[in-house]
């Protein structure tokens, strides 16, 4: 149906300004009449935003003259390819018991730890700090850790 008409373009932006650029384009598009149906800002894709449009995007259009844009990426993206961004898998799916992780926020920021237990329903993990003299279990939220090594040695 219409899905085949929808084209998805990637626009390069300044890293960290993806949301601002998307909001500015959204505001401009409403008044300019160019056909943009949605704008996607996946958190995993730094420095890019994805624009869904039913017609070819003209980067010369004044509505797309937004600060912090670094140009468009040649070519189009199929809808199948962006599906992974729409339904992000749970953070804890990639973490296993015994994985080595780094804490990225909280009082133990920067410390390395080993995963002891995973609580999937609450999205929490119980960790044991590697460098601590006495192993103390620490419970943190799944978004406070970054995986370093997937499996235990």
């Amino acid at each position: 149906m219409e899905d085949s008409d929808n084209l998805i373009y990637a626009i390069r932006t300044l890293v960290g300004q993806e949301k601002n650029v998307a909001q500015m384009i959204a505001r401009n598009v409403k008044n300019s009449g160019i056909e943009v149906n949605s704008i996607l800002v996946p958190e995993t894709l730094r420095g890019y935003i994805l624009v869904e449009s039913s017609s070819k995007l003209d980067m010369q259009n004044p509505a797309l003259k937004v600060p912090n844009i670094r140009g468009a990426v040649e070519g189009m993206i199929t809808f199948e390819e962006i599906k992974t961004f729409l339904k992000p898998e749970p953070i804890l799916a990639s973490i296993q018991k015994g994985s080595i992780v780094e804490l990225i926020s909280g009082p133990f920021k920067g410390e390395k730890a080993k995963v002891v237990r995973i609580d999937e329903s609450r999205e929490e993990v119980v960790l044991e700090l590697i460098e601590a003299a006495v192993p103390i279990p620490v419970t943190v939220k799944g978004d406070q850790i970054r995986i370093i090594q997937k499996e235990a040695d």
Binding site: A26, V36, N37, I39, L40, P42, K83, L86, K141, D143
Partner: protein
């Protein structure tokens, strides 16, 4: 002023409660999706979004 997202409909707002779902909103969200034309957008169809606006991709 912190921007929040509803835990159910993922709509982004400033209020503490979602006006549509009447559920508490969360500050812990990531990813942004701006729907301008839900009728024509394939992304909106995939996520069953019928109203234009700003949505979060992941809300906790």
């Amino acid at each position: 002023m912190t921007v929040k997202a509803c835990t159910k409909c993922h709509r982004i707002m400033n209020e503490d409660r979602c006006t549509m779902c009447d559920l508490p909103s969360s500050t812990n969200w990531s990813g942004l999706l701006i729907i301008i034309d839900p009728e024509k957008s394939a992304i909106a169809k995939e996520l069953n979004i019928t109203l234009p606006g700003e949505y979060a991709l992941r809300v906790r």
